[in-house]
Every structure is written in structure tokens, then in C-alpha cells.
Subunit: 219 residues, 2 copies
């Protein structure tokens, strides 16, 4: 159970990791850097996420994980977890489940980056955050604190920081969101979902249908 500062690496590409970390609180992101030096954010981890299953069963890490905010993480030794999976099939099934949901999110990200324009990409990623946070009880009402800079948002959507800024302003001007600093508020949740071509199916959130996609603002 360690507390680490924002920017700290939990894993580096090329590492041969010995522990599996779980995010207790705070945020992190997976990233890869191209030969040209461009960065792509591959996933954002939120509190409660296990971030090292990849490295638990694969030998060398193919990407890096870095903290977005000051966070506390718990660390489980690699072989302890492996033994646990072998001793307790139910744990194995849980790992499989978690991994498959992550893969589903990755698939949606490929679509997002590959086939949607900038406006839809940003709308989509905002919707995804909102729903994921809400599903863990981390979002209060119809707003949430976006834990990333516009530059990181750009790296997550395959855009440039400049363009992210412009598009965010457009979404705001259109009355879909409003924001003060990094706090994003959903003014028209349904319209934002439409713009972002968002459906929560790919998140595979248990509990069947959303009780309410977002607590307010969609009646």
C-alpha cells in the first residue's frame, strides 16, 4: 500500500515486473510511444482497477503505466497471484472477466480513434469516463472532475492539444457540456451521447440496464 506522486511510473515498457498493482485511489493511464516520439494513451485506469494482469502472465511489458494523479496503490507479488489463480479457478475466471472487459474497451478505442471525427471522439471519451466513474460510485451528479490535461486528452484521442481545445469549446458552445477548469458538467447528456455515438454496451457493466445513465439531465 504505497502512495505515489503524479507522473510516477508503475510499469515501463520493457520491464519484467514482479508485482501486480491495484489502484486504490487516484488515476493512471497506459501509454505507448512511437519511434517518432508521438505518445498514444491506450487506456485510463480508475480507482479499483487492477493494472498489471498483462504483466502477470506475459513476460515483458509492452507498454508503460503512469500515474495521472497522486495515488495509493496496493501491490501483489506476481507469483502469489499466479498461484492463487491456479489454486482457485474462481479467481481465474474473475481475471479473465476483467481482462475481457478491458479488451472490449480497447476495441471501442480503436473504433473511436479510427473512424470518428474529433468532435465525436471527445464526446465519446467524456461519456465513457462518466459512465465508468458512475458505475464505481465515483461521480457525483451530472459532473465530474476530468483527471487529465488537454494534452493527455489529445494523446488519448489521437488528436493535437490545440484541436482538443477547439473542439471542447465547440461542445461547450453547442450546449452539450460546460466546464470550469477540469470540471466537466453534462448540460445535455443525451445529445452528448448522440454526438459521441456512445452506447454503454461495450463497458459490460453488470447490473443490467443503467438505473439511470446519468443521475440527472436526461429525463
Amino acid at each position: 500500500m504505497r502512495k505515489l506522486d503524479a507522473g510516477a511510473y508503475l510499469v515501463r515498457e520493457g520491464d519484467v515486473p514482479t508485482h501486480c498493482a491495484v489502484l486504490i485511489n487516484g488515476f493512471a493511464y497506459r501509454q505507448k510511444v512511437t519511434g517518432e516520439g508521438a505518445r498514444q494513451i491506450i487506456a485510463v485506469c480508475i480507482p479499483g482497477d487492477a493494472i498489471d494482469f498483462q504483466n502477470m502472465f506475459l513476460d515483458v511489458s509492452d507498454h508503460s503505466v503512469q500515474l495521472l494523479t497522486r495515488s495509493t496503490v496496493a501491490e501483489i507479488p506476481r507469483d502469489a497471484l499466479q498461484q492463487l489463480v491456479e489454486a482457485r479457478p474462481a479467481v481465474g475466471v474473475a481475471v479473465i472477466h476483467t481482462t475481457l472487459v478491458e479488451a472490449s474497451i480497447l476495441r471501442e478505442w480503436v473504433v473511436n480513434v479510427g473512424r470518428r471525427d474529433a468532435r465525436a471522439r471527445l464526446a465519446h471519451i467524456l461519456c465513457e469516463f462518466a459512465v465508468r466513474l458512475e458505475s464505481r460510485g465515483l461521480a457525483k451528479g451530472d459532473a465530474f472532475e476530468l483527471p487529465m490535461t488537454q494534452e493527455q486528452l489529445a494523446d488519448a484521442t489521437g488528436l493535437t492539444p490545440v484541436h482538443v481545445n477547439r473542439v471542447l469549446k465547440i461542445l461547450e458552445a453547442e450546449g452539450l457540456i460546460s466546464r470550469q477548469r477540469r470540471n466537466v458538467q453534462f448540460v445535455d447528456w443525451r445529445a452528448l451521447q448522440d454526438v459521441g455515438d456512445f452506447s454503454r454496451r461495450y463497458l459490460h457493466i453488470p447490473g443490467g440496464e443503467p438505473v439511470r445513465a446519468r443521475p440527472s439531465a436526461d429525463a
Copy 2:
């Protein structure tokens, strides 16, 4: 053990599948379609791939799988596989391993589509095919039969068919590849890897180092 025609669906988005299919021979691809009607190919399955672990442990499919060529597939009942995983931890570990490798490839695809220009994207995907096919003993020498049309290649790379065509011609003009119909030959394998920013690490192919990245053409 069934034989199905090209274009046949193995899974449809929204399905609640009852079987897990394994590709015995032939090729398939995973796809998602946006609200705008644009298609994104999310992964390409080659002979030997299990294509339904996602649906084995998740309830409703978040994407479709379609055959690229006439293929034969074996089908395992869903609950049989689930019971097997619970009875035999080693099987569970194997499923986890497979799933994690697939996720790693997905991460690389996000990078490919998000942060590389058209030329690098295509070079990269060609390298990936070559190495994956070779690792299963399916590629002979320094050439292989690309099982997809340029339109499908476009959907896999987030480009348009027109642009794919242009870029392929550029790669050819640069002396990196040569092609007759869908047969792609690697004229300068090392240069192609450089252009595509390709490293086989993310494929997590066992057997440590490549005996030879490509049999010929890289001495």
C-alpha cells in the same frame, strides 16, 4: 467442425452466443460499425485463433466477427468451456494468456491508428501479418497472400480505400514491397519495419528471439 463461406458471420454484435469457435483454417476479422455507418476492423484472426473467448465469459457480444475467406471452424459449447476452465486451472491460465496477447495487439492497433501516418500504418500492419503468419508456420519465404481487399485494409487502418491504394503504390515504388494481386512480397524487410515502426515485442510470441524475423531478405 463446419465449413463456412467468406462473409459468413460467426458472431454478431448484440448476440448472446452459445458456442466458442476456433478457426481451423481460413481468416476472419472482428469489426464494429459506427452510428454513421463507418466500419472499423478491430482485429484479424488467423488459423488457430480462438475467436470467442470474449463471448464465453461476457454476456452479450460487443462486436461482430465475419469470415474473410471460406473457412472451417470448430465450435465448443459455451458451458463446456466454462466448466473446463473451472475444473482445470491450467486451461484458465491458457485462456488468460491468449486474451492478454490479443489485448496487447489491440493496444498496438490503437497506437497505429491514433499516432502513425498512413504509410507507417500500412507498413506496420503488413509486418504484423507477416510475423504472425510466420509464427504459425503459415508464411512461406518472404511473401504471403494478404487475405483482404484494399477496402478491408482501409477499415483496419482507419483510412479510405483510395488512400490505401495510393500508399501501397508508394511502398512499392520505394522498393519496400512488391505485389501481384494480393500477394505481398517483402523486398526490403528491414526498411519496411523501420517505416512501420514495427517491433515484434507486442506480439508476445514465445520462443524468445525470432530465429529470423523473415527467412530471407534481411541479411
